[in-house]
Symmetry: C2
Subunit: 508 residues, 2 copies
């Protein structure tokens, strides 16, 4: 069955057997026709597969899929350290965690990401449901809340998400990447959970020791109010908003050009917006704008500005105002935000910070859960996403630059032998250590050389070696060697476990 | 373009515009034709989408994809506990960890899983590479080794894998599920790494406290040798092997019937196999079979039996022989095993254990990495996979049955107020606690009732409440309440952090 023509709502089809079918409208096409389409598609794809795929011949390539990567043990060690810092913070603030499947029904994601929907990975229709890989963790979270009728939760979720974007892997942009989200859902008093999200960003970025940073805050209602009083037509709010969002990458002149030339905004409107979006400050700026003749005409803007004031009062109590800036140029791309929005950037000078961009972002989205609820019941939410891949990139660069070696295992002691035929004795001793909870290794050779056993310790940063020899066995001792200093001391076998624990109390 | 007919290698096509094209053979179909196929497929799928998908009208269903599930906070708490036990064990044995992407090039998975390949999830062809979701962690591991030319590594990998199987979710069988793999790659002396894998299974199952268990071991070479001496034709080894694999679910009589009636084996051959596969023992059985008139005729079997003997000698040193059984009926499904194989089963009586099945399994696969190496260079590997979903199911059932509540957060103290208008004081105090690393919560209400604050503590198992009131503020103290006993004591504000730490030293 082939699409021949489609005109004025009519669709013409030729079936595989040459029959011409005229279809008046969508409702008149029956399930049988759809089944036929499926069959024809399957036949064509099978033919294509028989022909050897897109290049016509088989050439096996040993690689990971475009835009993805393996993590090697060193990268995993860094990743684990970063995750531990972040998870500790989330737990300190009393968050629970959930997990959702890596794919969702396609329609769960439909209509949530605007233009970016084209970046969603779909699964092949192998019969059954139409599925897509998750694009973020926020939409699955909202689906989870609606599905389980949960109205209050403070949760974090760390998992991979998928976007068929153009990868820029050197700058930490991948098609498969981690998101690291903390969200508070529930009907609460204004700005208290919002302020805690900012406190969390502050704590995480401080503890990861990434250098100085700033957290910009704004409010969608202030942006919309600003657009209204500057004379932007209602139907252009979202598109002008995404142009404003480019201010961190483009100078104002170019942003203005886009507004006027591409989006058809008047020159005066653009200039008025230009004045506002250059403003930065704190609670004082919010107060000043509440008195601003133009801005104060918008109810929406006033509501947003009052909330910014309240937010800053809580941020003072949380002791984080030194890094937070009220910045009217902050817009954020996503459609679903309804109130406060924020974004953290590293403010270190140099090329690195430019390429790294924002390292955390989030905001309030009070309408998303309602999109999934059959009765449209809303659950107000506010959350933050830590830009973990960018942080990994920075940490990896730092590890490369540092003299300190990244350990990929936590082994405390290597059980070694100085002579031949001691495999059994090594296995006995390592069993004693394992059974006592000591992290220990033994080489998988019958008669390894002492030198190669010591080399393995140097390479993987194992601090201690327990060396067995005929003499040690006779004396009931073990020679304990400190790899770093080469110091050796005989330890009574019965005291070995305690001695290893004592000497490696940091590592265990 | 539509497939009209295909006969004697000729393929006839009608293009969308009615043109008939006759194709003699695969090589004569040009890239242009393939492009046309792609276009037609796209048109048809677009039409299908316009028609509203498979059911012709939109009906939004709030659910997760078939065979998948969300993990709620309680399930996550159990999962975290299980993972911690397993990861601690892997780390105690000196393993590094890696991660690989959730999808691989389709051809990386091709030809690795035999019949089960039909269960692989493919991604939709959206232009670019053909991708599939990973089916296990072993094939990506082998791909990783070959791609990075790694010849020695001891690594663990915990991640989700995907199989379009018939889900049986009550028995812990899902389409998306975790695998938990530990593998040792490298050319080492026989049976030392193999024995360590069994030691690891022993440690993990003991520590998870799942009740009594047994670890069955066998060797593919013993199976093949046994088939040979029993008169199974070479080309039937694999298919008879998969019939033997059903012995844990079917009685011998049915297995024999399948061998004779379905697989065409002679009655005598089947009976001889039946004798062998009923044998169970330890090192002594291996010794006996080495003397067995028939078995000893097979070089392969002898090599396997000698290795079983060696394995048991190491298992004695590792102190795990009490749970390990040499069992000639163990076959394991996967094609890629080349030596020792093993499987752990819970031996508790009752319905549960029957439905749970094996909780760990693995073996030696010396040929898999070579399949990815352009020059076929082999890297010998042995590994074990912990059947984590089944373990989750058991742990969840245990948690349900137990009186003890599963905590989903680790909050040590709730900052509460006894009177109105103390939000600022609460936020100040909780900031002090957070800054000191204490896990603390505060309700997001201006004036929450004391009762609702206390109730929240009871519900989520928070052990302490730091209560502020006018009097406490005046006196410079905090009233610390122990939730379990309702005991209350005034603590000097400067001592609060130390007091909370002291009283919750287990929980932190």
């Amino acid at each position: 069955m082939v699409v021949e023509a489609s005109c004025c709502g009519d669709i013409f089809l030729t079936t595989g057997t040459g029959r011409l079918v005229r279809i008046k409208g969508k409702d008149e096409l029956c399930g049988f026709c759809i089944l036929q389409i499926d069959e024809e598609v399957a036949k064509l794809l099978e033919l294509k597969a028989r022909l050897g795929g897109d290049d016509g011949k088989h050439q096996f390539v040993l690689k990971t899929a475009k835009g993805t990567r393996d993590y090697n043990p060193k990268q995993m060690a860094i990743r684990e350290k970063v995750f531990n810092t972040i998870i500790s913070c989330f737990k300190r603030h009393g968050a629970e965690t959930i997990d959702t499947p890596v794919f969702e029904l396609k329609e769960t994601l439909t209509g949530k990401y605007g233009e970016d929907s084209k970046l969603i990975y779909d699964l092949k229709d192998q019969g059954g449901e139409l599925l897509s890989l998750r694009y973020d963790l926020t939409v699955p979270f909202a689906r989870y809340l609606a599905m389980n009728k949960i109205t209050n939760i403070k949760r974090y979720h760390i998992a991979k998400v998928y976007r068929r974007d153009n990868p820029a892997m050197t700058r930490g942009r991948y098609r498969e990447f981690y998101q690291c989200d903390f969200d508070i859902a529930g009907q609460y008093d204004a700005m208290i959970p919002d302020a805690e999200c900012l406190k969390i960003v502050y704590e995480i970025l401080s503890q990861l020791d990434l250098g100085d940073f700033r957290i910009k805050v704004n409010d969608r209602r202030i942006l919309d109010g600003m657009f209204a009083v500057c004379g932007v037509p209602d139907d252009k709010f979202r598109t002008i908003c995404s142009t404003v969002d480019k201010l961190d990458k483009m100078p104002w002149e170019d942003v203005k050009k886009e507004m006027v030339n591409e989006k058809g905004l008047s020159e005066e409107a653009a200039d008025q917006i230009g004045e506002y979006v250059s403003m930065q400050g704190g609670m004082d700026l919010a107060e000043r704008l509440l008195q601003d003749q133009k801005m104060s005409q918008s109810k929406q803007a006033c509501a947003g500005l009052s909330d910014i004031k309240l937010l800053f009062s809580y941020l003072q109590l949380f002791q984080v105002t030194d890094k937070v800036v009220f910045d009217l140029s902050l817009a954020r791309g996503l459609d679903y935000y309804t109130g406060i929005i924020y974004e953290a950037v590293l403010s270190q000078a140099g090329v690195e910070s430019v390429s790294v961009g924002s390292v955390a972002g989030g905001g309030r989205y009070d309408g998303l859960v309602g999109m999934f609820d059959p009765k449209g019941r809303k659950v107000p939410c506010v959350g933050v996403s830590i830009g973990i891949e960018r942080i990994f990139s920075i940490m990896e660069q730092k590890a490369e630059a540092s003299a300190e070696k990244v350990r990929t295992t936590e082994v405390q002691v290597m059980v070694a032998s100085a002579q031949k035929n001691l495999l059994e004795e090594r296995l006995k001793l390592v069993t004693e250590l394992w059974n006592a909870g000591i992290k220990a290794e033994v080489m998988y050779k019958k008669n390894p050389k002492l030198l190669s056993q010591l080399q393995h310790c140097e390479e993987s940063g194992i601090p201690l070696v327990a060396i067995l020899g005929e003499q040690e066995l006779k004396d009931g001792v073990v020679k304990l060697r400190v790899v770093a200093t080469r110091e050796e001391v005989d330890i009574c076998r019965a005291d070995l476990i305690e001695e290893v624990r004592r000497r490696t109390s940091d590592a265990s």
